[in-house]
Amino acid sequence: MDMTGSKHKNNYPSHPSRIRIGGFWWIVFSLAAGLVLWELIIWLANPPVFLLPPPGLVGRRFWEVASNGILLRHIFYTLIEILAGMALGVSAASAIGYLLAKSPTVERLLSPYVVASQAIPIVAIAPLLVIWFGPGLISKILICALIVFFPVLINTIVGLRGVPEDLHDLMRSLLATPQQTFWLLEVPAALPVFLGGLRVGATLAVIGAVVGEFVGADRGLGFLVNLARGQYDTALVFVAILTLVILALSMYGIVALLERRLLAWQQRKEQDILQQ
């Protein structure tokens, strides 16, 4: 799923190029400008509250549900789904990805399923999973796991295939055991691409949780969106959406931090490129 895949001179895939986020004050300014625009629309068009609530009302509603613990309860529930789903999806995808990358037989055997699994719209089979596993946690965890699975799988394979053959030869000439080759060569060499998949997966997991909760749930931020919509409490819909955005950004940020920690050996190169 790593579609940027820009190549460096030594063939190590670097970070996919991302949108560059400006400095702190630019972010503040940009958000403030958005709020002003929002207020301006309210002031000019004066839409009914259930169509577009003013920012002040959304803020008040946010404060209400945040202070009485309701919001926190829903965040907690959705977060559990996301984290458990990611743990399941990432471990399954990296294990199967490793087998696919290492064994041509396994690849021939499993690739039809892998390709087919990508063709199935997760959103469409979410109801099925809820029928099979009930409206509780398990169906949501499975939806998250499924949606995370593919990008992590593909990036695991691409990452492992990208390990230079000469380094494999080096390890062989030094009589490295398969375990040593795995930990000292394959893991560090495939990590940049693998983490790229994890970054995509982290944001997709949030979508998976919301989709699952839309289909059938009695808790969670997706459920909250649905509930508030039913009550024409559009301000609460906004609150839930904003919370989801923050959640998704945090997930993304955590993976980005992880990348920065683990891929310090690549970092300066990226900066060099930006400076050129």
Binding site: N10, D166, L167, D169, L170, L174, L175, L263
Partner: protein, 268 residues
């Protein structure tokens, strides 16, 4: 693991490497591609051998077979009198590209072979530090490979190939990507290291003057399928000096190698 300065072949009269009638054919789609054709030669302990030949003459294939990284098709290959069937722990390889792990510092790249042998970290670092000094990279211990020049990276690769004290060092055009001056300097460095460590060295190169400057014997392979065309002893005195490149004896040997390579390059 103590670094012994001098490893002696159990029986110096037995060649450390013996290649006889070695052929290598690779499947290339439907038809086989013959890279080497009945190559025969022997290498004795502490010899410095250079392998020359036109591009595509199977020089690298030969080196990979000697390293145990590629299987031979027919013929025999003995290492210290034993058939060689796979990688040996005590044959060090230096690849065309420096082939360093980009996530490891200079020192960490050099310690890799010791790490694989579970040498305690403190001991591994001590020996790596010694190697860093030997190859002249003091001060670059914590540098990452991307910040090294080509010559420096190849020094790290040589240090890495030497640290576990292999008997044989195989070098596959190690200085091919370096500019002429750096290349000559690296050659002298390699001679110094070789004299210090007394290894058996087999080095693939496409530079005649490099081969003559370094080797005790120069082997010339023909164009594919690679056949051994010449096994030329280089009786120039050691230690070799840079000025030696301009002596009549050197020139005569160079002329001989050149004409053999030119003959070997012609399509049969």
């Amino acid at each position: 693991m103590a670094v012994s300065p001098h490893i002696v072949n159990p029986n110096p009269s037995i060649p450390i490497l013996q290649v006889s009638e070695l052929s290598a054919v690779f499947s290339n789609g439907q038809q086989g591609l013959q890279a080497l054709d009945r190559v025969t030669f022997s290498v004795y302990t502490e010899e410095f051998i250079c392998v020359l030949g036109p591009s595509g003459s199977g020089k690298s294939t030969l080196l990979r077979i000697l390293a145990g990284l590629l299987p031979l098709t027919t013929g025999e290959l003995f290492y210290c009198g034993q058939p060689l069937t796979g990688p040996q722990g005590d044959i060090g390889v230096v690849f065309q590209k420096s082939n360093l792990m980009p996530w490891r510092t200079v020192l960490e790249n050099i310690t890799l072979p010791l790490e694989l042998r579970r040498v305690p970290r403190a001991e591994a670092l001590r020996q790596a530090q010694e190697m860093v000094e030997l190859v002249g990279l003091t001060g670059f211990e914590t540098t990452l490979p991307r910040d090294l020049s080509g010559g420096m990276a190849q020094r790290v690769a040589i240090a890495r190939a030497l640290i576990h004290d292999p008997r044989v060092l195989l070098l596959d055009e190690p200085f091919g990507s370096l500019d002429a001056l750096t290349r000559e300097r690296m050659g002298s460095e390699l001679l110094r290291i070789w004299q210090h460590r007394r290894k058996t060295v087999i080095m693939v190169t496409h530079s005649i003057s490099e081969a003559l400057f370094l080797a005790d014997r120069v082997l010339v392979l023909s164009r594919r399928p690679g056949q051994l065309r010449l096994d030329l002893p280089v009786d120039l005195p050691r230690p070799r000096q840079e000025q030696m490149r301009y002596t009549p004896a050197f020139g005569e040997l160079a002329r001989q190698l050149r004409s053999t390579i030119e003959d070997a390059t012609e399509i049969l």
